[in-house]
Amino acid sequence: MSATAAIFRKEMRAYFCSPIAYVLWTCFVALTGYFFYSGLLYYSMASMQAMQQPWGVTLNLQEMLMAPLMSNWSVMLMLISPLLTMRLLSEEKRSGTIELLLSYPLSDASVVWGKFLAALTMFALILLPTLAQVAILFWLGQPHLPAILAGYLGLIFMGGAFIALGLLASALTENQIVSGVLSFVALLMLWVVGWSGNLVGGSLGEALKALALGPHFEGFPKGLIDTADVAYFILFIGFFLFVTIRTLEAKRWKA
């Protein structure tokens, strides 16, 4: 336990002592700020028009603004996550510090968990400034709080999936760039693999659709916490962390 905590603290420190955290933060705030601004403008125009209609239409703030915004964030976060994870194990292998780390009385699992939790915390911190946008919505209108919370829960689950996969990529190579590219391409594949589901058809098509990352997220920002989606993310994270730990163990045996 204390080993996991020690590794967690060391990785958090590494994020804040390098420019990575600040650069990602700034970029994410700038991009989401832009999307929020244009989305809000569009929504207010649409609601103005709706009000002028003789038959009273009420627009749903969550469905028309928050859900598309969170969907945008999820794609941006997919691009960002490999940058958070590519260093984690690759750097230890390249600099040789892994030799010393593995000579300490700690399990491989505690190394992987410490790094995973640190990256996930960083992910959540990057997401933090978007709360300002939510606050603006509360100031201007009446958004549905539980649905927004569900959306954030979905984002965290998805971040866990991105990071678990990125951690495996990082365990496979001692080159950070290779690790980053590997996890980025794998995430992109998992994101789009469902698109071909309808074309393929049949049970294979269904399987492809069930495998894809994106569709499992879509329910959350609409306030829908589906146990199937939750199970998907938990299994996804568990599987990739398990394989990462095994990869680390295999490295010991082959070395």
Partner: protein, 331 residues
Amino acid sequence: MAMIEVKDLRKRFGDHLAVDGLDFSVAAGEILGFLGPNGAGKTTTMRILTGYFPPSSGSATIAGHDVVDDPLAARRAVGYLPENVPLYVDMRVREYLDFVGGAKGLKGLEARRETKRVMEATGIADRAGQLIKQLSKGYRQRVGLAQALVADPPVLILDEPTIGLDPRQIVEIRSLIKEMAGSKTVILSSHILPEVAATCERVVIINQGRLVAQGPPSLLRPEQAGNSRLRLAALGDPARLLALLLDLPGVEGVHPEAAPADQPGVAVFSLTAAADPALRASLAKAVVESGAGLVELTPIAQSLEEVFVQLITSESAATAEAENSAGEDAA
């Protein structure tokens, strides 16, 4: 009680046998010198002992814990300093040692107490707040030694702890290690022989993954070699001196050598003779009585490196011979 026990250890990398049936043990409180040329399998053996990878066959135990069957307990008993001292260079010394304490399972307060203790033991307390990447090589080596000492393991495994240091730093690190004699069991690898002779109580010499010799450091002392070599310089006729020296009983070989350019008229010889002080006395007497002026008579100490090379080459020659005869028997 043996603190480290290595039995028939083998490690194979593909076709290459890096460690080939190594057997040795280290008693508690002993400082063992682990010697061998580059590529002899020193680092591989140390990595097996510290649990970085398991042996292909054979066993290794540390403080009674098998490194494969009970890895966490074995690793809890070991402090390790790898050869190139891989540290997290972006961390400050104190932070780094706190982290090591945590990674070794110490709680917050305990870890900080250990950090303070090891910084004092290795003399780096004044650099506690500095980034590791800004430290000199000598200080980094001390930080490396400090992290090995965190949590006070009974066994220390140090891979080339003085490599790349300047002479003053070497002396400091050596005395740090010597201070641990008795309280800690230390394996220290090196290819610098005087260092091992000066620091260790016992040496194990390996070559090509096999044990070549083990024993006290005097194993490496030149007295072991039966004959001694002498250097003799005298003022006089070189031919007459040569004949005189060859006639003396106990002298087995004489080689004339080039006279030093700044001392004209001096004849220089190198002699192989029995290692007997009486012989040297009679040698000096004979030269003086012949009328030549004795200028110099020095025993040439065989360097440690020469002894080492002899040990290693004689071993590989012996094995080659054994293999040849085995091959002939089979034919």
